[in-house]
């Protein structure tokens, strides 16, 4: 009997139906068997992963859980057994569209670590952004009349681990692309990145917290443009593990920081036309937490408050840590009382 784990993509881009994923992992003697039965049939929407991509997710997870300097050779791959039925979202066949298949692949990766969690609690991280966070735009250069397009994939919060917080704004399993320098992008396109920041209070709380998500705002001051989002997590953020809580979900917002009627929430898979002056704010999720937030070292909570990564209110609401506003000090007695009473009443944040 193996560990069964389920996951899903929030949105396939065409229908409102979630994309269900499932895996059962069995360690049988010298082989590790990944059974994806229970995952959805392939979609008309471009969220289908190929068999090779799914196999790569299995190999990655296994490689990451084993000794760090173990060579990856045929002898390693031989022990990976996989059942991913042809015609499913984890083994797409012609003519299924696959451009967004990485959304499925990275979510499979995330699901695999959750499946391993009971057996290897010290090794697996909590959920990460588990979406590619692809942002593209196209624009016509007024001076030359040439069409230019730009593509990049953004970082998010990493999942918390058994002994450490998830790093803030960093790439995820199987993805390690750098961010394009703002000065490089602005030198080649008539647009501006108006903000590149961590998202405060976006972490999944836990004994160890998830990493903060990241926000990148694309502003098109003078020219019309098209903007493409191929991403996910617009319904649910990365889950916590062993009592850790969920990280903030992703947001895709047209004209943020504007009065409500002008500010529009976009979906995670769309192409939109922008008029001069528009801004798209791409906000990636925070990582999931690990362990109960009430067990978090109050000094670690204070450090996040001092750094402005979480607010004083959030320290109290999520972690039960009381910090005095004026002195920025922990009120130990109050903290202890609040944590005790909430644990007794099983009142989770």
């Amino acid at each position: 009997m193996g560990d069964i784990e389920k996951s899903f993509l929030d949105f396939d881009g065409f229908s409102d139906d979630v994309v269900n994923l499932q895996v059962e992992i069995t360690v049988d003697g010298e082989n590790v068997f990944f059974d994806f039965d229970g995952s959805d049939k392939q979609r008309r929407a471009p969220v289908n992963s190929t068999k090779a991509m799914t196999f790569a997710a299995c190999a990655y997870a296994l490689r990451a859980l084993m000794a760090p300097d173990m060579p990856v050779n045929e002898g390693f791959y031989r022990h990976i057994k996989m059942n991913a039925k042809a015609g499913t979202v984890v083994h797409a066949i012609h003519p299924a569209p696959v451009v967004g298949g990485w959304e499925t692949q990275v979510r499979v990766n995330d699901m695999l670590f959750r499946a391993f969690a009971d057996g290897l609690p010290k090794k697996v991280p909590s959920s990460t952004k588990a979406m590619m966070a692809q942002a593209g735009f196209g624009i016509i250069d007024r001076e030359t009349g040439e069409y230019h397009c730009n593509y990049e994939a953004l970082a998010g919060g990493y999942g918390a681990r058994a002994n450490s917080d998830g790093p803030d704004a960093v790439q995820q399993h199987g993805q390690n692309t750098e961010n394009a320098p703002v000065e490089e992008v602005e030198s080649h396109f008539p647009m501006r990145v108006s903000r590149l920041s961590l998202i405060e209070n976006s972490e999944g709380p836990g004994k160890y917290r998830g990493g903060l998500g990241m926000r990148r705002d694309y502003q098109f001051p003078d020219d019309p443009a098209t903007f493409t989002i191929l991403s996910d997590r617009d319904i649910q953020g990365p889950q916590g593990i062993f009592g850790g809580l969920e990280g903030r979900k992703a947001y895709y917002i047209l004209n943020p920081d504007c009065p409500n009627e002008q500010s529009i929430e976009l979906s995670s898979k769309c192409v939109i036309d922008l008029k001069p002056g528009d801004t798209v704010s791409f906000q990636t999720p925070g990582g999931g937490g690990y362990g109960s937030p009430f067990e978090r070292d109050p000094r670690a909570v204070l450090k996040d408050v001092i750094g402005g990564k979480i607010s004083i209110d959030r320290a109290l609401d999520m972690y039960g840590v009381v910090i005095t506003k004026s002195t920025r000090e922990i009120d130990s007695d109050c903290t202890q009382k609040i944590r005790q009473s909430r644990t007794k009443t099983r009142r989770l944040p």
């Binding site: 697996v124 970082a155 704004a169 390690n176 961010n179 490089e184 108006s194 590149l196 705002d217 001092i306």
Partner: protein, 714 residues
Amino acid sequence: MTTAQESDHHESRYRIGVDIGGTFTDGTLVDSTTGRVTTSKVLSTPSNPASGFISAVKKLLSSASVDPSHIEHVVHATTVATNAIIEGKTARTAFVTTQGFRDMLEIARQIRPSLYDLQFEKPAPLVPRQLCFEVEERVNAKGEVVTPLDDHSLNQVVNQLASSDIEAVAICLLHSYRNPDHERRIGEAISEKLPNVIVSISSDVVPEFREYLRASTTVINSSVAPIVSAYLSSISQKLVSENVTSELLVMQSSGGVYPAQSASENPVFMVESGPAAGAVAAAALGSNLGQPNVISFDMGGTTAKASLIREGQPNITKDYSVGGAAQSGTGAFGGASGYPIRTPVVDLVEIGAGGGSIAWVDSGGALRVGPHSAGADPGPVSYGLGGTKPTITDANLVLGRLDPNYFAGGEMKLDIDSARESIRVNCANQLKISVEEAAHGIIEIANTAMVNALRLVSVQRGHDPRDFMLIGFGGAGPAHTVRLAEQAGIPKVLIPLGPGTASALGLLVTDVRMEGSATLIVRADQADLTQISREFQRLENLGRKAHKQAASASGAPVFERAIEMRYWGQSFELSIPAPNRSEIDQTWMQELTESFHNAHQTAYGFRANDEPIEIVNLRLTTVGKIARPQMLKLSITDTGVSIALKGTRPVYFSEESGKQGMIESKVYDRSLLPAGAVFSGPAIVEEPDCTTVVHPNWQANIDEFGNIIIQPKN
């Protein structure tokens, strides 16, 4: 008066180099007219490095009997800046940037430093988030002001800084490389209110595009500046109290030197001061023999370093991270574990293999070497100082490559029995092989890692190792160099005189170098040539001004121009030396683009003749030449090698070397080997600080400078 001055000049002919390492501080004094070299080795004093520095200088002056007033200049390599960063002891620094970008240092390049490590950490920014501030202002990519600098928000930030108890501030605004005005005004406002705080401005430190790399460079500059300037002023004072009043120069990461004053202002250029000296020494040794293409291999107690020198110049990179794992060759993302700097750095690969590296058998039954090191304390088992784990030095001893009675010139007797026992218990028994086979396995595993380092600096950068000479030095290097050459396919090996202190020689055979650069992003086929010309002119003016600080220590400024270019649409550029033509015209541009295609071919294996090329940065190095000291020449004699023969002993060699097992080998005393001597391997050459192993099938000769040159027989 004239006569007196001339005579003074004649007397000021001694130069001193001091290189502070983890265990020892090495001093070298050279008489620049005769080439005679005096060396000193004292224990480093990590809690107060200046004290080790001055003991090394005093020891040099007394053993060479030189009047301190006759010192021409002193050159220093120090790890004081790197150590501050690695140990988290940088100054309390704040960061000021454009509104919306406060988290530039936290986000960094958003990459994981290691692909499969689930427990990885991003390096903690050198500035905590609460000391990162935003100012309302914005400049666009053309350098035009989109949002003027808002005085109110500036005042707010200055007031916050005033109540933050900081020692330094780094300012990096978007596109300041195109328009530094806002950065300057912010810097002035801060200095006015906080005159004791060190302010670094990104457009001064490294005025190049890519905001995070420029910010990181600027932050390192300001956060080590208080430490470096205090340190340099303390050693300057100590020198003066020893009556050494000549110029103090500091080694930069690039292998050039600059005055202590420049180092105090722009310390980010000397962060990797220490390792650069070895590469410069190797370059000089090669050039001296008319061999401008060499690979430098420097192996000490804890690490081994490799670098490549082409046409007499060490390979330089600007893709470097301080405190990162990039230099251990762990992969393309290793740099993300440290703090990037965009200053020229000698391109080194450093791995954890030194004389003290510990051998062990892992849970899968494989023999492993390092990365743990026994260091100098407790040291290898054979030192008898409490070490119990077998090291590379112990393995070399068991194989007969080191003489237990002639270690450190006989000052220290090595315990071969306990070395054997330790290898038996910790390695041979588990592997069910003999002690000699296990010892040989230890050496071969370490060699494999070191050969890999040699390949990283050569093959991986598009250079064929067969076209190079390998120069081996450092206390442990020459015992391994010939075998490495054999494995890497390098046809010639050089072991310099005094290999243990050879890297300090690098301090005395280099020039003053001041770096300048400017970003100009333009397609080569659309470039305004007069603009390029104007920019270079502007950089030359800045270079002339900077050179004034070094005027007394070096010759008149000369300029080296380079252009950083890429195919249009690429993200990474190559640095191309400017064509050697007085005028920047169409022919200049044609030669430049042709050089770029060729460089791309060398680096990446292809050229794309039809792709447009983009210029991104102009670079100008202002060079103040320092005359090289004479190299001391020996007269070639035909006395033969017999006077140097100390005897024979059995030494273990492997099958790959032609024979296997213990082979009776001749042992020579290096100090008695005359220039012109020729001898064959298997042989051992001993000197107090080092042992050279000449493998079977290799032949050695001593050249007129005392170097051992080793080549395959036939």
